[in-house]
């Protein structure tokens, strides 16, 4: 028991530490494809370090929610990571689905507070960002749930039709949830198009550092889910951790390719994007009900 707990804590730490690296790799890949030099893969670490060392400016209008939100977001991401690691890959039974869904709920805890914090300062940007963030995520959630259901019902076999379709749907959800093009753009600070960045616009210093860390970890959580979805058997393979790392890397690079090959959508087109993913998920469920 204690052993298991220690292992999970160890894994959580490891993954949390490597989480910014994944973001760095994605960014590096994007720049490479664009034929740019770009910052190093370690740049996310530098950013976080810089932010932790800076003073922060807090709006006069803000309440305690503003202080609490980054901490809760960070804690939520960590908790989600814990939960995802608890759902054992390989023999994904109903309990695993329940745990994965719980992980989503925990992430929405953080999102809830982040959205509140966006409204807290009384700035229009924050409100706009919160509104859009909850908008997108509320449409993403059902798709993710169906995908998880279907994939867990697959029983951990590789490359079932339903599993692949579910993985595809989940991939689209991950794009939306990790604020990537075509749903959102992490790199922009153009007020009217940003979503996540608008919400956290008021943050600076160590709070912002926590938020950034939290989003790296969240991305990690999603990538882990995605990796299980695509190659469920990988976790039990020998050299599992290496296979796993490779998977994460592949997913990240795929993400980077998608990001540079499509244009950002208008906000209201994201509904179309997500409903498309919903139909894919539905197709997955139909496939699963046919036993495929």
């Amino acid at each position: 028991m204690l052993n298991t707990i220690m292992v999970i804590i160890g894994k959580v730490f490891a993954l949390a530490i490597f989480a910014p690296l994944v973001s760095g790799i994605i960014r590096k890949t994007k720049n490479t494809i664009r034929m740019r030099n770009g910052p190093s893969v370690l740049q996310p670490y530098y950013n976080v370090r810089k932010l932790f060392l800076k003073d922060e400016v807090i709006s006069k209008n803000a309440s305690w929610i503003f202080y609490a939100a980054p901490v809760i977001v960070f804690a939520g991401s960590i908790c989600a990571l814990v939960l995802v690691l608890m759902a054992r890959p390989g023999h994904l039974v109903s309990n695993s689905a329940a745990i994965l869904i719980a992980a989503f709920f925990v992430l929405s805890l953080g999102r809830f507070f982040m959205a509140l914090a966006g409204l807290d300062a009384g700035s229009s940007f924050g409100g706009m960002g919160s509104s859009r963030e909850v908008f997108i995520s509320s449409f993403a959630e059902p798709v993710a749930f169906i995908a998880i259901f279907v994939f867990c019902m697959g029983g951990g076999d590789n490359f079932r039709v339903s599993g692949v379709l579910a993985g595809f749907a989940l991939f689209m959800v991950v794009i939306a949830e990790t604020s990537r093009i075509p749903v959102d753009n992490q790199e922009t600070h153009l007020e009217l198009t940003m979503v996540h960045e608008a919400m956290v616009l008021e943050y600076s210093g160590r709070s912002l550092a926590l938020i950034e860390l939290a989003s790296h970890i969240k991305q990690m959580v999603f990538f882990i889910m995605l990796s299980w979805c695509l190659f469920p058997a990988a976790g039990t393979a020998p050299w599992g951790w290496a296979v796993f790392s490779a998977e994460i890397g592949v997913i990240g690079i795929a993400m980077a390719f998608i990001e540079i090959s499509v244009a950002k959508m208008r906000l209201f087109r994201t509904v179309d994007f997500l409903s498309f993913s919903f139909f894919i998920a539905l197709a997955a469920s139909i496939a699963s009900s046919l036993g495929l």
Partner: protein, 598 residues
């Protein structure tokens, strides 16, 4: 004539005790809250309010412990009547009169359906007693059973506020004083769910699977429609009322799934679904009661119900804000609070159901789960709006600016509901098995294994991890990392005149949803510019509204139809005595001609 007086007046089984507990859990804090709420009123009004409140609560209790259809009906009607009085307690407003009328008429339609069903049952059972009804139910012809089911479903659904019979709910609940709204929303509509469980699961056995499917489908419709309307509404209490529609939908998801799987013989799933439904029932009672009390507290402090005029209340009313936040987190199903546990159990029920079945049923379960997920996401969005606009940022009106924290009694009332919201979440390990026992008894299966291990452990785990991490970060910030903090204006792009008028509004917040659901909401807007000259617009008005489709395309045409018919009938009586005499003669001649028929 009065030969039908029943023999078994009262009934105590685990279901009644469960509902008793729910009633007590909500009504006591609400009653305490009412002491503070009514403090400034005249003694007469206080006494009337309390007398009505007591009558209301008692009638609910008696509905639950009735052991026969007859007293069930009487107390059901009394419950409607007393709650109607409570709705129109604030009798000077035309709005409350209107709300009361809509409420009473809808309730009456529901009760009429119940009456019809009860009397048909009475015919077959020869008695109003539940035991006789239960015995007779086995022998009922299928079509009669189905008619009874439909009548009872309409009757209970009307009271429960299931879409499309929800029309009264967003009028009546906001119009009642908040401590009453909390009971109405928290408990009264659950009594209808009690009726459904009592009749569909316990009395009219065996229930066919399609009953469960019907309930499930209506549950899905209710939760989606409820939450979408809630997103669009900016009246705090109305918003909460729409959330009641949503949550009743979620409860019905569980009830429907339970009936569905019980009929298909998958008992463990049925037990899990029923457990989830009952768990969500008590949870909704708790956080909805809490939220209504908070809204009452806000109303008392500001005199406002429109959240567009509030803002910044977290600074002036910190306790109310905290309680509201707890309620909002509960209703948004955020772990580790109670709403999370029950919604999550419902998901598990759907998932186990999907695993246990094949083909269309599996898709049906998955789609139901997706609907629930969408509902959950939208509910969270709605409460970000409700809490954010009401309590955060700057006050948007003078009333909100001058708000004062409410008194001790009201705070106590709220706290008594806020604490259980937390306990029912974190302490699910203690609560869930009890509720599982109730649901086993309800389904009449004793030896069914349902593992609630995860439900017991996970909320605690989440609480520990989240709080532990948060505490660690906090300690690190406090003692390890000592960077400075500067308080300054919100970033304003150099405009230097940010005030409450430039804040994001609830209307703006909900705009993406309005557009995404425009196929259902049918929004329309009008804008108006006041110009000083061609170049200078001195004032700009923008209004946007959504169409209440059920009202506009069903109830209003229906009412219009009835009225136009009534006006036509009215022309039959134009005041002419000659015509009247002619009527008598025609009746006479007609009857004589048709005497053979009679």
């Amino acid at each position: 004539m009065i030969t039908f007086l029943p023999k078994e007046f009262f009934l105590f089984d685990s279901l009644t005790i469960f509902f008793f507990a729910v009633i007590g859990l909500i009504c006591i804090p609400s009653a305490i809250f009412s002491i503070g709420y009514l403090r400034e009123e005249a003694l007469k009004k206080k006494l009337i309010s309390w007398a009505l409140l007591a009558a209301f609560i008692l009638s609910m209790c008696f509905v639950v412990i009735s052991g026969n259809l007859f007293s069930f009906l009487i107390f059901w009607e009394l419950m409607s009547l007393t709650s109607y009085f409570l709705v129109v307690l604030d009798y000077k407003h035309e709005k409350s009169i209107r709300a009361g009328t809509i409420y009473l008429v809808m309730t009456h339609i529901g009760t009429a359906c119940l009456m019809a069903a009860f009397f048909i049952l009475y015919n077959y059972a020869g008695s109003f007693d539940y035991s006789a009804v239960k015995e007779a139910a086995f022998a009922l012809p299928p079509n009669i059973r189905n008619i009874i089911f439909l009548l009872l479903f309409i009757g209970f659904a009307t009271k429960a506020g299931v879409v499309p019979m929800h029309i009264w709910l967003p009028y009546a609940h906001p119009q009642a004083p908040s401590y009453v709204s909390s009971i109405m929303s928290g408990v009264m509509i659950k009594i209808a769910v009690y009726g459904m469980i009592r009749f569909f699961v316990m009395l009219l056995l065996p229930a066919p699977a399609w009953w469960g499917a019907v309930i499930l489908v209506f549950g899905i419709i209710s939760c989606l429609v409820g939450v979408i309307y809630a997103l669009m509404d900016h009246d705090l209490k109305k918003l909460l009322a729409y959330h009641s529609v949503e949550n009743i939908g979620i409860i019905l998801l569980g009830v429907g799934a339970a009936i569905f799987f019980a009929a298909r013989g998958v008992i463990p799933v049925a037990a899990l679904a029923m457990c989830a439904a009952l768990y969500h029932l008590v949870n909704h009672a708790l956080f909805k009661g809490l939220l209504f009390l908070c809204s009452g507290s806000v109303y008392k402090a500001t005199g406002l119900r429109n959240i567009e005029k509030m803002g910044g209340l977290i600074k002036t009313m910190p306790a109310t804000a905290l309680f509201f936040l707890i309620g909002a987190m509960g209703i948004s199903a955020l772990p580790p609070l109670n709403g999370f546990v029950s919604e999550w159990l419902t998901f598990q029920a759907f998932f186990s159901g999907a695993v246990e079945s094949q083909g269309a049923v599996r898709i049906f379960m998955i789609v139901s789960a997706a609907a629930l997920a969408l509902t959950g996401g939208l509910a969270a969005a709605c409460f970000v709006k409700a809490f954010g606009i009401t309590f955060l940022a700057l006050p948007r009106s003078a009333h909100a600016r001058e708000a004062k924290e409410t008194g001790f009694m009201m705070k106590t009332g709220m706290a008594l509901l806020a604490v259980p919201v937390v306990i029912f979440g974190v302490g699910a390990g203690f609560i869930a098995p009890v509720i599982l026992r109730v649901s086993r008894a309800v389904l009449g299966v004793q030896n069914v294994e349902v593992s609630l291990y995860l439900a017991s452990v996970l909320p605690v785990l989440i609480a520990v991890v989240v709080l532990g991490t948060a505490l660690a970060v906090f300690l690190w910030f406090r003692f390890g990392l000592r960077t400075g903090q500067v308080r300054y204006n919100t970033w304003d792009c150099g405009y230097y005149a940010l005030d409450s008028r430039t804040e994001y509004t609830a209307t703006a917040f909900s705009k993406p949803f309005r557009i995404a659901f425009s196929f259902f909401l049918l929004p329309y807007h009008k804008s108006e510019k006041m110009r000083d000259s061609f170049y200078h617009v001195s004032k700009f008005m923008y209004e946007t509204h959504t169409t209440l489709v059920f009202r506009k395309f069903f109830y209003e045409p229906l009412v219009r139809l009835v009225y136009s018919f009534a006006w036509k009938v009215r022309k039959l009586q134009p005041g002419s005595i000659h015509l009247y005499i002619l009527y008598i003669f025609i009746t006479l001649v007609g009857l004589i001609a048709l005497a053979a028929i009679f």
